[in-house]
Protein backbone atom coordinates (compact mmCIF):
# COMPACT_ATOMS: atom_id res chain seq x y z
CA UNK A 1 0.00 0.00 0.00
CA UNK A 2 1.34 3.42 -0.84
CA UNK A 3 1.68 5.97 1.89
CA UNK A 4 -0.80 8.61 0.72
CA UNK A 5 -3.46 5.90 0.72
CA UNK A 6 -2.44 4.79 4.19
CA UNK A 7 -2.62 8.39 5.30
CA UNK A 8 -6.08 8.87 3.85
CA UNK A 9 -7.40 5.60 5.22
CA UNK A 10 -6.05 6.53 8.63
CA UNK A 11 -7.83 9.87 8.53
CA UNK A 12 -11.06 8.27 7.38
CA UNK A 13 -11.08 5.24 9.67
CA UNK A 14 -9.26 6.22 12.83
CA UNK A 15 -9.36 9.98 13.29
CA UNK A 16 -13.19 10.12 13.54
CA UNK A 17 -12.83 8.27 16.87
CA UNK A 18 -10.70 10.92 18.51
CA UNK A 19 -13.55 11.93 20.84
CA UNK A 20 -13.88 8.38 22.11
CA UNK A 21 -10.12 8.17 22.56
CA UNK A 22 -10.04 11.46 24.46
CA UNK A 23 -12.99 10.57 26.66
CA UNK A 24 -11.44 7.25 27.67
CA UNK A 25 -8.08 8.95 28.19
CA UNK A 26 -9.66 11.58 30.45
CA UNK A 27 -11.31 8.95 32.60
CA UNK A 28 -8.14 6.85 32.77
CA UNK A 29 -5.73 9.69 33.59
CA UNK A 30 -8.30 11.87 35.41
CA UNK A 31 -6.59 14.86 33.85
CA UNK A 32 -7.43 16.71 30.66
CA UNK A 33 -3.85 17.75 30.19
CA UNK A 34 -2.45 14.22 30.49
CA UNK A 35 -5.28 12.93 28.32
CA UNK A 36 -4.23 15.21 25.47
CA UNK A 37 -0.67 13.94 25.61
CA UNK A 38 -1.86 10.37 25.92
CA UNK A 39 -4.19 10.59 22.93
CA UNK A 40 -1.54 12.26 20.83
CA UNK A 41 1.02 9.59 21.61
CA UNK A 42 -1.51 6.78 21.13
CA UNK A 43 -2.65 8.20 17.77
CA UNK A 44 0.88 8.36 16.45
CA UNK A 45 1.44 4.82 17.65
CA UNK A 46 -1.78 3.81 15.92
CA UNK A 47 -0.50 5.35 12.68
CA UNK A 48 2.76 3.41 12.97
CA UNK A 49 0.88 0.14 13.51
CA UNK A 50 -1.85 0.97 11.01
CA UNK A 51 -0.54 -1.49 8.41
CA UNK A 52 -1.35 -4.23 10.88
CA UNK A 53 -4.98 -3.17 11.26
CA UNK A 54 -7.22 -5.37 9.17
CA UNK A 55 -10.41 -5.36 11.21
CA UNK A 56 -13.55 -3.34 10.75
CA UNK A 57 -13.75 -1.87 14.23
CA UNK A 58 -11.35 1.05 14.14
CA UNK A 59 -12.78 2.59 17.31
CA UNK A 60 -12.13 -0.51 19.44
CA UNK A 61 -8.70 -0.80 17.84
CA UNK A 62 -7.80 2.81 18.68
CA UNK A 63 -9.15 2.47 22.23
CA UNK A 64 -7.00 -0.65 22.73
CA UNK A 65 -3.94 1.40 21.81
CA UNK A 66 -5.01 4.31 24.03
CA UNK A 67 -5.45 1.91 26.93
CA UNK A 68 -2.13 0.13 26.34
CA UNK A 69 -0.32 3.44 26.00
CA UNK A 70 -1.89 4.57 29.24
CA UNK A 71 -0.81 1.48 31.16
CA UNK A 72 2.76 1.73 29.92
CA UNK A 73 2.83 5.37 30.92
CA UNK A 74 1.13 4.65 34.24
CA UNK A 75 3.61 1.95 35.19
CA UNK A 76 6.58 4.08 34.26
CA UNK A 77 5.65 7.34 35.89
CA UNK A 78 2.68 7.37 38.10
CA UNK A 79 2.34 4.05 39.83
CA UNK A 80 3.10 5.45 43.27
CA UNK A 81 1.34 8.76 43.12
CA UNK A 82 -1.69 7.83 41.06
CA UNK A 83 -4.01 7.28 43.97
CA UNK A 84 -3.30 10.64 45.51
CA UNK A 85 -3.06 12.46 42.23
CA UNK A 86 -6.16 14.47 41.52
CA UNK A 87 -6.26 16.97 38.77
CA UNK A 88 -7.97 20.12 39.93
CA UNK A 89 -9.25 20.94 36.49
CA UNK A 90 -10.82 17.53 36.05
CA UNK A 91 -12.48 17.47 39.43
CA UNK A 92 -13.70 21.01 39.46
CA UNK A 93 -15.40 20.47 36.13
CA UNK A 94 -18.80 21.96 36.08
CA UNK A 95 -21.36 20.81 33.62
CA UNK A 96 -20.91 23.71 31.25
CA UNK A 97 -17.42 22.47 30.59
CA UNK A 98 -18.52 18.90 30.15
CA UNK A 99 -19.86 18.82 26.67
CA UNK A 100 -22.50 16.56 25.33
CA UNK A 101 -24.41 15.84 28.49
CA UNK A 102 -27.38 13.90 27.35
CA UNK A 103 -30.51 14.21 29.37
CA UNK A 104 -32.94 11.57 28.32
CA UNK A 105 -34.64 11.11 31.62
CA UNK A 106 -37.12 13.79 32.50
CA UNK A 107 -38.58 12.11 35.52
CA UNK A 108 -39.25 15.03 37.94
CA UNK A 109 -37.83 13.19 40.93
CA UNK A 110 -34.56 12.75 39.08
CA UNK A 111 -34.56 16.36 37.96
CA UNK A 112 -34.51 17.51 41.57
CA UNK A 113 -31.62 15.27 42.48
CA UNK A 114 -29.73 15.93 39.30
CA UNK A 115 -27.66 18.96 40.20
CA UNK A 116 -26.07 17.31 43.21
CA UNK A 117 -25.85 13.85 41.84
CA UNK A 118 -23.99 14.91 38.70
CA UNK A 119 -21.09 16.11 40.75
CA UNK A 120 -21.15 13.12 43.05
CA UNK A 121 -21.33 10.70 40.16
CA UNK A 122 -18.49 12.45 38.41
CA UNK A 123 -16.30 12.15 41.47
CA UNK A 124 -17.56 8.69 42.37
CA UNK A 125 -16.75 7.28 38.96
CA UNK A 126 -13.35 8.95 38.97
CA UNK A 127 -12.64 7.42 42.37
CA UNK A 128 -13.35 3.85 41.26
CA UNK A 129 -10.32 1.59 40.95
CA UNK A 130 -8.98 1.55 37.38
CA UNK A 131 -10.10 -1.97 36.52
CA UNK A 132 -13.73 -1.07 37.23
CA UNK A 133 -13.56 2.50 35.98
CA UNK A 134 -12.36 1.54 32.52
CA UNK A 135 -15.08 -1.04 31.87
CA UNK A 136 -17.75 1.31 33.23
CA UNK A 137 -16.62 4.13 30.93
CA UNK A 138 -16.44 1.82 27.91
CA UNK A 139 -19.88 0.40 28.59
CA UNK A 140 -21.89 3.37 29.85
CA UNK A 141 -20.24 6.27 28.04
CA UNK A 142 -18.91 4.63 24.89
CA UNK A 143 -21.72 2.10 24.63
CA UNK A 144 -19.35 -0.67 23.59
CA UNK A 145 -20.57 -4.27 23.62
CA UNK A 146 -19.21 -6.81 26.09
CA UNK A 147 -17.38 -8.43 23.21
CA UNK A 148 -15.67 -5.18 22.22
CA UNK A 149 -14.70 -4.44 25.83
CA UNK A 150 -13.39 -7.99 26.29
CA UNK A 151 -11.19 -7.45 23.21
CA UNK A 152 -9.87 -4.07 24.35
CA UNK A 153 -9.10 -5.07 27.94
CA UNK A 154 -8.08 -8.60 26.90
CA UNK A 155 -10.26 -10.42 29.42
CA UNK A 156 -13.07 -12.98 28.96
CA UNK A 157 -16.61 -11.69 28.36
CA UNK A 158 -17.70 -13.19 31.70
CA UNK A 159 -15.11 -11.02 33.44
CA UNK A 160 -16.46 -7.93 31.68
CA UNK A 161 -19.86 -8.80 33.10
CA UNK A 162 -18.63 -9.35 36.66
CA UNK A 163 -16.47 -6.22 36.64
CA UNK A 164 -19.40 -4.12 35.45
CA UNK A 165 -21.59 -5.66 38.14
CA UNK A 166 -19.03 -5.04 40.86
CA UNK A 167 -18.18 -1.59 39.52
CA UNK A 168 -21.82 -0.53 39.67
CA UNK A 169 -22.17 -1.90 43.20
CA UNK A 170 -19.02 -0.09 44.30
CA UNK A 171 -20.21 3.15 42.79
CA UNK A 172 -23.58 2.72 44.49
CA UNK A 173 -21.72 2.27 47.77
CA UNK A 174 -19.63 5.40 47.18
CA UNK A 175 -22.76 7.40 46.41
CA UNK A 176 -24.89 5.95 49.20
CA UNK A 177 -23.72 8.10 52.16
CA UNK A 178 -24.07 11.23 50.08
CA UNK A 179 -27.60 10.33 49.07
CA UNK A 180 -28.81 9.80 52.58
CA UNK A 181 -31.03 12.55 53.93
CA UNK A 182 -31.96 13.83 50.52
Amino acid sequence: MTDPIKNRRFHMLVMPHLNSAFNLACWLTRSRHDAEDLVQEASLRAFRFFDGFHGDDARAWLLTIVRNTFYTWYQENHAQQQNTLFDEEFHSLDTTDAVDMHYRDNNPEKLLLRKDSERQLQQGLAALPLEFREVMVMRELEDLSYKQIAGIVDIPIGTVMSRLGRGRKLLAKILAPANQGE
Partner: protein, 265 residues
Protein backbone atom coordinates in the same frame (compact mmCIF):
# COMPACT_ATOMS: atom_id res chain seq x y z
CA UNK B 1 -30.53 -22.13 37.04
CA UNK B 2 -29.78 -21.33 40.64
CA UNK B 3 -30.38 -18.04 42.36
CA UNK B 4 -26.64 -17.29 42.66
CA UNK B 5 -26.08 -17.92 38.96
CA UNK B 6 -28.97 -15.62 38.05
CA UNK B 7 -27.51 -12.97 40.35
CA UNK B 8 -24.25 -13.11 38.41
CA UNK B 9 -26.05 -12.72 35.10
CA UNK B 10 -27.93 -9.60 36.15
CA UNK B 11 -25.35 -7.06 34.87
CA UNK B 12 -25.54 -8.64 31.42
CA UNK B 13 -29.32 -8.76 31.68
CA UNK B 14 -29.36 -5.01 32.37
CA UNK B 15 -27.09 -4.47 29.39
CA UNK B 16 -29.16 -6.71 27.12
CA UNK B 17 -26.12 -8.84 26.48
CA UNK B 18 -27.74 -12.22 27.20
CA UNK B 19 -29.06 -14.64 24.61
CA UNK B 20 -32.78 -15.15 24.33
CA UNK B 21 -32.83 -18.35 26.40
CA UNK B 22 -30.89 -16.80 29.28
CA UNK B 23 -32.92 -13.59 29.06
CA UNK B 24 -36.13 -15.55 29.46
CA UNK B 25 -34.71 -17.59 32.36
CA UNK B 26 -33.63 -14.44 34.19
CA UNK B 27 -36.97 -12.80 33.47
CA UNK B 28 -38.99 -15.61 34.98
CA UNK B 29 -36.67 -15.81 37.99
CA UNK B 30 -37.11 -12.08 38.61
CA UNK B 31 -40.85 -12.58 38.92
CA UNK B 32 -40.35 -14.83 41.92
CA UNK B 33 -37.24 -13.39 43.60
CA UNK B 34 -37.40 -10.01 45.38
CA UNK B 35 -33.66 -10.05 46.11
CA UNK B 36 -32.77 -10.31 42.43
CA UNK B 37 -35.37 -7.68 41.60
CA UNK B 38 -33.66 -5.30 44.02
CA UNK B 39 -30.26 -6.08 42.56
CA UNK B 40 -31.60 -5.61 39.03
CA UNK B 41 -33.16 -2.28 39.98
CA UNK B 42 -29.90 -1.08 41.53
CA UNK B 43 -27.81 -2.16 38.55
CA UNK B 44 -30.06 -0.53 36.00
CA UNK B 45 -30.51 2.66 38.03
CA UNK B 46 -26.74 3.04 38.39
CA UNK B 47 -26.17 2.35 34.72
CA UNK B 48 -28.77 4.93 33.74
CA UNK B 49 -27.33 7.54 36.13
CA UNK B 50 -23.82 7.16 34.75
CA UNK B 51 -25.12 7.30 31.20
CA UNK B 52 -27.16 10.43 31.66
CA UNK B 53 -25.31 12.37 34.31
CA UNK B 54 -21.58 12.00 33.86
CA UNK B 55 -19.46 14.05 31.54
CA UNK B 56 -18.41 12.94 28.12
CA UNK B 57 -15.10 14.60 27.33
CA UNK B 58 -14.84 15.64 23.71
CA UNK B 59 -11.41 16.08 22.23
CA UNK B 60 -10.30 19.73 22.09
CA UNK B 61 -10.70 21.11 18.58
CA UNK B 62 -6.99 21.54 17.94
CA UNK B 63 -6.00 18.02 18.98
CA UNK B 64 -6.75 16.48 15.59
CA UNK B 65 -4.65 19.14 13.87
CA UNK B 66 -1.77 18.58 16.26
CA UNK B 67 -1.81 14.85 15.58
CA UNK B 68 -2.08 15.38 11.84
CA UNK B 69 0.96 17.65 12.01
CA UNK B 70 2.97 14.75 13.39
CA UNK B 71 1.83 12.32 10.73
CA UNK B 72 4.11 12.56 7.73
CA UNK B 73 2.45 13.04 4.36
CA UNK B 74 4.71 10.37 3.02
CA UNK B 75 6.72 8.12 5.22
CA UNK B 76 10.46 8.36 4.60
CA UNK B 77 11.59 5.61 2.30
CA UNK B 78 14.95 3.98 1.96
CA UNK B 79 15.32 5.17 -1.60
CA UNK B 80 13.33 8.28 -2.30
CA UNK B 81 11.93 7.87 -5.76
CA UNK B 82 10.18 10.55 -7.69
CA UNK B 83 7.98 9.53 -10.51
CA UNK B 84 6.78 12.38 -12.64
CA UNK B 85 4.80 11.62 -15.72
CA UNK B 86 6.38 13.05 -18.84
CA UNK B 87 4.89 16.13 -20.33
CA UNK B 88 4.18 16.09 -24.04
CA UNK B 89 5.98 16.24 -26.29
CA UNK B 90 9.48 17.09 -25.21
CA UNK B 91 10.18 14.29 -22.82
CA UNK B 92 8.16 11.65 -24.62
CA UNK B 93 11.10 10.58 -26.65
CA UNK B 94 14.28 8.66 -26.27
CA UNK B 95 15.74 11.65 -24.52
CA UNK B 96 13.33 11.18 -21.67
CA UNK B 97 15.01 10.28 -18.43
CA UNK B 98 11.95 8.26 -17.55
CA UNK B 99 12.53 4.69 -18.54
CA UNK B 100 9.72 2.28 -19.41
CA UNK B 101 10.63 0.41 -16.26
CA UNK B 102 9.71 3.46 -14.23
CA UNK B 103 6.44 3.88 -16.10
CA UNK B 104 5.72 0.27 -15.29
CA UNK B 105 6.43 0.90 -11.62
CA UNK B 106 4.14 3.91 -11.65
CA UNK B 107 1.35 1.91 -13.28
CA UNK B 108 1.77 -0.88 -10.75
CA UNK B 109 1.66 1.61 -7.90
CA UNK B 110 -1.46 3.18 -9.33
CA UNK B 111 -3.07 -0.23 -9.70
CA UNK B 112 -2.34 -1.09 -6.09
CA UNK B 113 -3.72 2.27 -5.00
CA UNK B 114 -6.95 1.81 -6.95
CA UNK B 115 -7.28 -1.74 -5.68
CA UNK B 116 -6.74 -0.67 -2.07
CA UNK B 117 -9.30 2.09 -2.43
CA UNK B 118 -11.70 -0.47 -3.87
CA UNK B 119 -11.11 -2.76 -0.91
CA UNK B 120 -11.73 0.09 1.44
CA UNK B 121 -14.94 1.13 -0.27
CA UNK B 122 -16.12 -2.47 -0.14
CA UNK B 123 -15.73 -2.74 3.62
CA UNK B 124 -19.18 -3.50 4.98
CA UNK B 125 -20.63 -0.86 7.28
CA UNK B 126 -22.67 -1.64 10.39
CA UNK B 127 -25.84 -0.92 8.41
CA UNK B 128 -24.80 -3.34 5.67
CA UNK B 129 -24.25 -6.01 8.24
CA UNK B 130 -27.65 -5.51 9.87
CA UNK B 131 -29.28 -5.41 6.41
CA UNK B 132 -27.82 -8.81 5.56
CA UNK B 133 -28.75 -10.19 8.95
CA UNK B 134 -32.30 -8.78 8.75
CA UNK B 135 -32.80 -10.32 5.28
CA UNK B 136 -31.49 -13.68 6.51
CA UNK B 137 -33.91 -13.55 9.44
CA UNK B 138 -36.71 -12.64 7.05
CA UNK B 139 -35.92 -15.57 4.76
CA UNK B 140 -35.58 -17.98 7.68
CA UNK B 141 -38.91 -16.88 9.13
CA UNK B 142 -40.57 -17.84 5.83
CA UNK B 143 -38.62 -21.08 5.32
CA UNK B 144 -39.17 -22.54 8.75
CA UNK B 145 -42.86 -21.75 8.58
CA UNK B 146 -42.31 -19.81 11.76
CA UNK B 147 -43.57 -16.42 10.76
CA UNK B 148 -45.53 -15.75 13.93
CA UNK B 149 -45.34 -16.75 17.58
CA UNK B 150 -48.59 -14.95 18.17
CA UNK B 151 -50.93 -14.88 15.19
CA UNK B 152 -53.45 -12.12 15.41
CA UNK B 153 -54.65 -9.20 13.38
CA UNK B 154 -55.55 -7.42 16.59
CA UNK B 155 -52.89 -4.99 17.79
CA UNK B 156 -54.30 -5.29 21.32
CA UNK B 157 -53.47 -8.99 21.30
CA UNK B 158 -50.05 -8.72 19.71
CA UNK B 159 -48.66 -5.91 21.87
CA UNK B 160 -49.34 -7.53 25.29
CA UNK B 161 -47.89 -10.80 24.00
CA UNK B 162 -44.44 -9.18 24.13
CA UNK B 163 -44.88 -8.30 27.82
CA UNK B 164 -42.34 -10.16 29.88
CA UNK B 165 -40.54 -11.42 26.79
CA UNK B 166 -38.64 -8.24 26.03
CA UNK B 167 -37.52 -5.43 28.27
CA UNK B 168 -39.12 -2.83 26.03
CA UNK B 169 -42.62 -2.41 24.67
CA UNK B 170 -42.77 -2.20 20.88
CA UNK B 171 -45.43 -0.04 19.29
CA UNK B 172 -47.92 -2.26 17.50
CA UNK B 173 -50.28 -0.61 15.05
CA UNK B 174 -52.56 -2.33 12.57
CA UNK B 175 -52.36 -0.69 9.17
CA UNK B 176 -55.08 -2.76 7.49
CA UNK B 177 -57.02 0.33 6.35
CA UNK B 178 -53.87 1.48 4.53
CA UNK B 179 -53.39 -1.94 2.93
CA UNK B 180 -50.78 -3.38 5.29
CA UNK B 181 -52.49 -6.07 7.36
CA UNK B 182 -51.01 -6.94 10.74
CA UNK B 183 -50.61 -10.70 10.96
CA UNK B 184 -48.87 -11.23 14.26
CA UNK B 185 -45.62 -11.02 16.19
CA UNK B 186 -42.56 -13.06 16.92
CA UNK B 187 -39.38 -12.88 18.99
CA UNK B 188 -36.23 -12.67 16.95
CA UNK B 189 -32.58 -11.82 17.37
CA UNK B 190 -30.76 -9.13 15.43
CA UNK B 191 -27.50 -7.23 15.78
CA UNK B 192 -26.86 -8.93 19.10
CA UNK B 193 -30.20 -7.98 20.64
CA UNK B 194 -33.46 -9.74 21.25
CA UNK B 195 -35.89 -7.85 19.02
CA UNK B 196 -39.62 -7.71 18.41
CA UNK B 197 -40.61 -8.84 14.93
CA UNK B 198 -44.01 -7.69 13.68
CA UNK B 199 -45.41 -9.31 10.59
CA UNK B 200 -47.49 -7.36 8.13
CA UNK B 201 -48.79 -8.47 4.74
CA UNK B 202 -49.13 -6.40 1.59
CA UNK B 203 -51.26 -8.48 -0.75
CA UNK B 204 -49.18 -11.68 -0.97
CA UNK B 205 -45.96 -10.20 0.34
CA UNK B 206 -45.01 -10.65 3.98
CA UNK B 207 -43.17 -7.78 5.66
CA UNK B 208 -41.03 -8.34 8.74
CA UNK B 209 -40.66 -5.25 10.91
CA UNK B 210 -37.90 -5.55 13.50
CA UNK B 211 -37.98 -3.20 16.50
CA UNK B 212 -35.43 -2.76 19.24
CA UNK B 213 -34.20 0.08 21.48
CA UNK B 214 -31.69 2.59 20.12
CA UNK B 215 -29.31 4.86 21.93
CA UNK B 216 -28.61 7.23 19.11
CA UNK B 217 -30.47 10.10 17.58
CA UNK B 218 -33.42 9.82 15.27
CA UNK B 219 -32.47 8.93 11.73
CA UNK B 220 -34.61 9.29 8.64
CA UNK B 221 -35.65 6.30 6.57
CA UNK B 222 -32.93 4.71 4.45
CA UNK B 223 -33.68 2.19 1.75
CA UNK B 224 -31.34 -0.62 0.81
CA UNK B 225 -31.62 -3.67 -1.38
CA UNK B 226 -29.82 -6.96 -1.40
CA UNK B 227 -30.50 -10.37 -2.92
CA UNK B 228 -33.83 -9.19 -4.33
CA UNK B 229 -35.13 -8.04 -0.96
CA UNK B 230 -35.72 -4.48 0.08
CA UNK B 231 -34.92 -3.03 3.46
CA UNK B 232 -36.07 0.30 4.85
CA UNK B 233 -34.79 1.34 8.24
CA UNK B 234 -35.12 4.35 10.50
CA UNK B 235 -34.66 5.36 14.11
CA UNK B 236 -37.35 7.26 15.98
CA UNK B 237 -38.15 7.86 19.64
CA UNK B 238 -35.15 5.79 20.71
CA UNK B 239 -36.21 2.76 18.73
CA UNK B 240 -34.65 1.14 15.67
CA UNK B 241 -37.09 0.03 13.00
CA UNK B 242 -36.01 -2.28 10.17
CA UNK B 243 -38.59 -3.37 7.63
CA UNK B 244 -37.70 -6.23 5.24
CA UNK B 245 -39.77 -7.56 2.36
CA UNK B 246 -39.78 -8.71 -1.23
CA UNK B 247 -42.49 -6.16 -1.94
CA UNK B 248 -41.51 -3.26 -4.22
CA UNK B 249 -39.27 -0.68 -2.66
CA UNK B 250 -41.81 2.11 -3.19
CA UNK B 251 -44.40 0.06 -1.29
CA UNK B 252 -41.97 -0.53 1.56
CA UNK B 253 -41.16 3.19 1.71
CA UNK B 254 -44.88 3.92 1.80
CA UNK B 255 -45.23 1.41 4.65
CA UNK B 256 -42.46 3.12 6.60
CA UNK B 257 -43.99 6.53 5.93
CA UNK B 258 -47.41 5.50 7.22
CA UNK B 259 -45.89 3.81 10.24
CA UNK B 260 -43.69 6.77 11.10
CA UNK B 261 -46.70 9.05 10.96
CA UNK B 262 -48.78 6.67 13.07
CA UNK B 263 -46.14 6.13 15.75
CA UNK B 264 -45.45 9.83 16.11
CA UNK B 265 -48.99 10.64 17.07
Amino acid sequence: MEHSEIMELLPAYVDQELGIAETLTVQSHLDSCPECRREYAEQSALSKCVRTETAYFKAPPDLAARIAAHIPDTLPQDKPRRISLPSFPASWGLSSNLSWLQVGTAMATLLVAVWSAGLYLNLPTADDRITEEAISNHVRSLQADHLTDVASTDQHTVKPWFNGKLNFAPTVIDLAPQGFVLEGGRLDYLDGHPVAALIYRRQKHPINLYIWPANGKDAGPKAESSRGYHVVHWTADEMHYWAVSDVEESELLKFSGILRLATHQ
